[in-house]
Symmetry: D2
Subunit: 328 residues, 4 copies
């Protein structure tokens, strides 16, 4: 392998997700292993524009594989959406001798990277870090598995109290545009119904389902609701609606919120992050650019970033069916 | 030890808390050990009125010591607040040959028990099962320790994402009248401020504290807020207030909700439950009544239920001071 | 879909693994959904021979999706290896009107199933339940993901104390013939070396690696060792060997043992179990037999059981490379 | 409060325990709050002798409250047991301008501190940090509560597999001289028998108990054994003994090992550490010395170190009785 590149940078951008630190560690250590210089960029594109850089060696990422969040911090950055902002960023990278970068983030972060790549021909490789699992070109995004475990553990606790009181709970989980967390966590937690943005179950069917559930002898019910569900009602409105139409139910609401983004990454996410980081650095050294590292059928693969952000992950119809069957 | 009593009942009442199952198990096994009959009453006083009873032997409580919630279920019961309801309950108990009962619950449940005891001279012993730790006559209520761990683990996750984005979070925890969960979990989670019902910190001081925190170089802040805090504002209003007065902060809100009531009980709560259950049964057999089992300085003690519910637990001033010092 | 089969059975066999209960639940509920009778067989083939059966309806599997172990119990059964044993088992199944069964277990259990199928033409479908992930025809076996999380969490704790004392730990994990747990958990836990049955790293290289690790400034080291590693030494002998040759190290040993088989299943294993159970029942109803349900690239697929047990899963060379790079 | 002392040091010594970092943080922040200089001593007395010091300010202990282990490291130090070693240590402290220190550790560490104090009149305050809970003058040592939770969670997992196979497990837990972990974790995990150093149950009684347990219909059994139990047999010998005398049992062994020392501290240990650290610094500033901070009935108290190490914690007889009753 030739080494056209002598110095690369790594950064995290957009919403954080568990496994980002493990991916940073992997990028940094792969650089150390291949004797390339590595620089950390703080606070995503904002730090790139401000030149908020720090050199990173193998030891600087000790003991972070099991930490949630990102030691490089993350931030939204409006300035990078302007040509001027990107020009400043480019100047900062050049000044620091950086010849390529790895960006760990979601589709917003990738959009910025690909525009930047086109304008300046600057080598970029993306690693999909988001709990939403909404990026094509990879079966799993970094953090999705951990978030599922967090949600399922929280619902296990809620079920304890739900079944002690024969209550119905609406549990809101993250997912503004996609229902992957809701659907998988709902099946994993044994939810009676799952409301996702991709499907309009309809309020009528929800009531039917709840009535059936009650009749079948279930002592409690959990309905998992993605933030962006299509009923047009948020969890508090759903509670009110059900209480009006099914007064037999004592309804409660729980919004899981930001704890879903944090926490010690699962074994799966740590291994995935380690593998993706290696491939990202290698890809840069192979002269590749504008690609995203993904995992398909347990193989690490590369996809053009533009495809990754253009595509649209679709919900797993089979899993919806499994969910229906499980709530018999 | 004479055995004036041949058959006792056990029930859970009011809001559930982790450790209730371990306490049920302890009551049932102590009865088996002492060769007393034991009956489980389902759904608290409601089940008592309805005669919803089931015999329980040592094996019927296998594998529940580590389960959250209560296998005997719990319920609110307005009917038991009426003389007629209590009369029916008394008749049911007599009909079933029950000569005393152990009620696991909070102060509402104890109030019912003590009235019933006075009216019918029926032997009752209480075990304090509530996450709020708001009952006098015991240093710890069953479930408090587990709830603290649940809250602290959730805030650990929230801090991951808070510090990745330099955000301020208001985290609402349970505690309508008392701030024990908020204060202890706040100290345990390293919160920057803790708002509790017992203290009116004042919004001015909150702003001062947050300003100081920012100046001291902290990258993120967590403010723990008990449901019943005295600022007169809920977490969403607090968010708005701070955003108006300290626009430097990117503020988020998280309401932990009912997951605080569930989950596998901690080692502490399981041991406490086991000890309390033994003492409760023994007390009944010793002819005692209208008492609550508590723990003071690691000794199991008995307190008149009336004192337990009349008293008022006060907040630990030293812990408030510790919290202030820790956020230097 | 025609329904040639009216009554099926489900059982667990061999070593237990997390997710078995979720798979039982799925089989039972799918039967209920499709209005087929379902029977649980206790203690695997032993219970089959003894006719230890119980009817199972949708409610009989309430609240088990998150429980480790198997409510149907498991057992080794020498008798089923004899023609007489299998004859008795066949008679029991016929007597009970059972027309097909789903066996959840590892390759030993599948071997029995396929012989039985050949002898009696009895419809059988297998679900791969084992923490070892050593079965071809599926990317993941039920319980593997949970076991990885258990191991990684345990090593995280061990690392706390290792790095406080600058110690070297040999941690033995399960895997007599295959190193999947060791390799994945080793990468996930950031182990300095990983010893697996598939590779003879050699003691010399281990010493070299440890010397390099010390020199690079690492304060502590974890070496993950699969039970069946090829160095010819167990963890206690490894400790002795290293202490003799590298007296600079203060070495400790930890054998994780059977806790790796238990515990609440991860979200991944619960979803996988739910999907596999549905497919298993459907396959029986479609008249299929002697197949194992697997997951390949997130699709549920069927493989002849004979292929599944003949094949040999190979270790992921790329992951060995990732591990090498990570320990730079 | 006058401030005779302007600069203090903090260190951890002996075996590490969860909560040590939270105590370090508390000492450091209390110094910052009171405007005293604070110095961290690395690797206990060894670092004291070598002058391995570093200044610590409030921000240097960010994000450690929830970390196991100790950021100041720990070590055994033979040299400090010699007058020459202590002389060197004293010189180092003087040279650095340190006027008092807080040592977080067990009774070995306290012994060193009190000798040092006598020889040089150097102000020292101890904080009891050990998972064994074997120090008088405090109801709880730092790390005990976390260790109990770790053990109970591990046994919960072991029970899953034990009850799936109707097996008997001997689980060895830490406690060479004292059985507090074994007794409390045994009760918390619902163990059938608990073998501790303080009691010689006798092998006969163990067999009797196991026979009774089998007869009573229990499907599996867990026996918790403290390292230093009095039967004169280790867990492997116990396994052999039981297999010979009770061939009906399929016996397995699990040695939990060093994972018991690590892990994220529980809420209880974090709060305790925070309170103890504040009191330790205040005591030094009040001119006190040679005392240990403890907690008795939820009050922070001071005890002469010599009493703390002379005394002997005794096992809780009531808890042994509770354990007996629970295994009916």
């Amino acid at each position: 392998m030739e080494k056209p590149i002598k110095k690369i940078a790594v950064m995290t951008s957009g919403g954080d997700s568990p496994g980002m630190n493990a991916a940073i560690r992997s990028v940094v250590r792969t650089c150390a292993y291949l004797e390339i210089e590595c620089v950390g960029i703080y606070r995503g594109y904002q730090g790139m524009i401000e030149g908020d850089f720090a050199p990173m060696d193998a030891r600087s990422v000790n003991n972070i594989i099991n930490k949630g969040g990102t030691i490089l911090k993350s931030a939204r950055c409006l300035e990078f959406k302007t040509p001027e902002g990107r020009k400043t960023a480019y100047d900062q990278l050049r000044k620091a001798g950086i010849e390529g970068f790895v960006v760990i983030g979601g589709d917003g972060s990738f959009r910025g990277a690909t525009i930047f790549n086109k304008e300046y021909g600057f080598p970029v490789i993306g690693i999909p870090g988001t709990i939403d699992n909404d990026i094509t070109g990879t079966r799993y995004t970094l953090g999705f598995d951990t978030a599922l475990n967090t949600v399922v553990e929280a619902i296990d606790k809620i079920r304890d109290t739900a079944s002690s009181h024969n209550r119905l709970f609406f549990v809101e989980v993250m997912g503004r545009d996609v229902g992957h967390i809701a659907l998988n966590a709902g099946v994993g937690a044994g939810a009676e119904e799952i409301l996702i943005p991709e499907e309009n179950l309809g309020l009528e069917r929800l009531l039917e389902s709840l009535k059936r559930s009650k009749k079948s002898g279930k002592s409690s019910s959990i309905v998992v609701v993605a933030e962006g569900d299509k009923t047009g009602k948020n969890v508090f409105e759903l509670k009110q609606y059900v209480e009006e139409h099914l007064p037999i139910y004592d309804v409660r609401v729980s919004v899981l919120g930001h704890m879903q983004r944090g926490g010690t990454p699962s074994a799966f996410d740590r291994v995935l992050a380690s593998r993706m980081g290696v491939r990202a650095v290698e890809a840069l050294l192979e002269g590749k650019t504008n690609l995203m590292v993904g995992i398909i059928d347990n193989e690490i693969v590369l996809t053009p970033i533009e495809e990754a952000i253009k595509g649209h992950t679709s919900i797993d119809r089979e899993l919806i069916r499994v969910s229906d069957i499980m709530t018999v």
